[in-house]
Symmetry: C2
Subunit: 413 residues, 2 copies
């Protein structure tokens, strides 16, 4: 496990205002880690709605299956998250483990097991001993308090080098509501859901079906546009919780995602999701460069996305960037292997605003020294112009360093 | 560039018998490298037929486009291969460069430019100065001799740490024919053609259309079943040349690939292609482990191939193997992300014959110490049983080490 904080970490942590109707607590349950918190309990007031999007893995973890099943009810009273063990690929014992965790949580909070949501992150394939939550969750339910988002973000970290939090405000009608979120990521980050775990909390009064649409739309250009290594976790989970507490202060109750009163809220949600997903990219395992890839002039947005992802997931492009080399030849390679419409002789490529290739060949005005200096920047903006149509897209990734190999060659043993 | 020979290199090099009707010569043309050969000329007797398969990149190199166009004629008199510069993404100058190289070669050999085939490998995006071949190719044509396959294999290397040759014999009718091949690979190896460059030479009398079918069928489970990093070269080229010289010794002329007299030849060709493609995997950049991935019990061979490739290209699986960790949880992850039918609770996984997971959970009899010892082997056999159907497949890859990152972070500069 890496201990040094990523050089790409945000330089400041925002003040995280409490969200009315949500109380948090963390503890050391001893799941795997020593001397750090590894379990988070979030307790929600009655009437809280929930929405979620999950990994598209064909082999999801037991907690993902649990959440999918419970999501149909649209309501929630508590969330339990543990780090250190993903409870994934644990067969019958995995299902028993989720059921027991939910039972302990339901007793602690005083609700039905159907109102409990679960997430686990860490090692895959090891049985999770849910009896470790016995007693712990009851204490947590008793001591849970509003706020504490940073503590919550710390408790769910695995190979993350810094906790990830973000917050924004918006008005629904004339009433101010808050949206605060936490995330953990770092490895196994790829679309179909980008981050392993992220949780969004708001006091806005939004019905579950509307919240689901907002979340589903919100991830397209945020969490689903981030990739670290192209690998997809069995546990990727993003849940959103809306307590509705702002209704008592006059916020109108929203039942449809198309409600025009949601415009500002939607924008604020997008800001939080974009902030958290960028932090995930900034904490990519071993990352030394944040890489933004913009593709323009594609035949469609979908085509631009596929080409951007092909570049973002190319080990040769990622190692070149780690080596501070503006190797646009490898970018061409990655465009070519995407299988999407591309005309070699119309391609243009920019690194941090400097055009290095134009119309299928090296840009004649390309100054290697200027580019070398630009490549030393910790943020690399790579732009590809295809010159075919109006489709464009943007994804975030990071470079591929020796540290990535070191972190992932030693993680389990 | 790496200088140490891969620890996975074959321990012996086969004797490479000459192939009648083919003469080879190599030289130092100074394209990029110092003090080593970097150009290969193969001269073929009149009547030699040719077949080829190429990268499926949408941005192929100029030589790939040249070969595709010339393949229609089905005949060949010379092949020119250079290393150090791929002549890819070089725009108009790339096309001019191929045309000039072909012109110089045609004059040297005394044939039409339409009978010249070309291949280039090395840096992408740098103009190739074809005038460097002027004089060189004439000398090579004059000194070309039968045999010399090992010298030829050396001249086409880039980041390869050892030259790759393979040979086999077969009878067509009652006449013995020989099949000898060379390859270079090491990076940007992925299906849609696996190796960057490979050339197969035979004295069998086989018409071009039949040779094309044999080659196309032959790559499916050989070169197209090898991946290093999932990246696909703009230059991947496999050409086969059949001089027909064995006809003078009584070999029947074959015009159809379905001709039953080709059974032994097809098998021998398969052996050569499999041998060369395995050598490519053994020379994966930074590789310390050869990894064979077998998937069984899939719903079809195609589905098994996709799952095997998902595992083979997963950075997390590859780094775990580099760390000698039998991390089957990551294998499950890679199965899950393939998008193919898979039932988590029916999955079984073996490392070097030891079953570590069974029916969706850790195998109860799994002895961690035995597995640890097995993982120290330079060849790792990873088998996945899906338990769904009869589809099965096999691919080869290698581990992902810090050396891969070092090699690819410094290659260009």
């Amino acid at each position: 496990m890496s201990t040094a904080v990523s050089p790409l970490a945000p330089t400041s942590v925002p003040d995280m205002p409490p969200v009315e109707g949500i109380r948090l607590a963390t503890a050391q349950a001893g799941i795997r880690y020593k001397n750090r918190t590894d379990v988070l309990l979030a307790v929600f007031d009655k009437g809280t709605t929930v929405a979620g999007v999950f990994t598209r893995s064909k082999c999801p973890s037991a907690p993902v299956e649990w959440c999918r099943a419970k999501l149909k009810g649209g309501k929630v009273r508590a969330l339990v998250v543990n780090s250190g063990n993903a409870n994934a690929f644990t067969g019958k014992s995995g299902r028993a483990s989720t059921a027991l965790t939910a039972k302990i949580a339901a007793q602690a909070v005083g609700c039905s097991v159907n109102d409990i949501f679960l997430a686990s992150t860490g090692v895959i394939g090891e049985p999770l001993d849910a009896t470790k939550f016995d007693g712990v969750l009851l204490s947590l339910a008793q001591e849970a308090k509003e706020g504490r988002f940073l503590d919550a973000a710390k408790a769910i970290m695995t190979t993350d080098t810094f906790p990830k939090v973000a917050t924004a405000e918006a008005k629904i009608g004339k009433t101010k509501v808050v949206i605060s979120g936490i995330a953990k990521g770092a490895g196994m980050i790829a679309p179909d859901m980008a981050t392993m775990l992220s949780f969004i909390f708001t006091d806005a009064p939004i019905a579950a079906p509307a919240l689901q649409v907002l979340l589903r739309d919100g991830v397209v250009d945020t969490f689903n546009a981030v990739t670290i290594d192209g690998d997809t976790s069995t546990s990727d989970t993003l849940l959103a919780f809306a307590t509705g507490a702002a209704a008592a202060r006059g916020a109108p109750k929203i039942t449809r995602a198309s409600d025009p009163r949601l415009t500002a809220f939607r924008r604020a949600l997008q800001t939080v999701l974009a902030d958290l997903s960028e932090q995930v990219a900034r904490d990519g395992e071993g990352a030394r460069k944040l890489v933004e890839i913009k593709v323009e002039g594609a035949t469609s947005k979908t085509s631009a996305r596929r080409i951007a992802m092909s570049i973002a997931n190319s080990p040769l492009v990622k190692t070149a960037i780690a080596g501070e080399d503006a190797n646009w030849g490898r970018v061409v390679m990655a465009v070519g292997k995407a299988g999407e419409p591309a005309d070699r002789d119309k391609l243009s490529i920019w690194f941090n605003g400097i055009r290095v290739a134009h119309k299928g060949a090296r840009d004649p005005s390309y100054d290697e020294e200027k580019v070398s200096i630009a490549m030393k920047n910790p943020k690399i903006k790579l732009k590809v112009g295809l010159g075919l149509g109006k489709g464009k897209d943007r994804v975030l990734t990071c470079d591929l360093t020796k540290d990535y190999v070191a972190i992932n060659g030693d993680y389990r043993s």
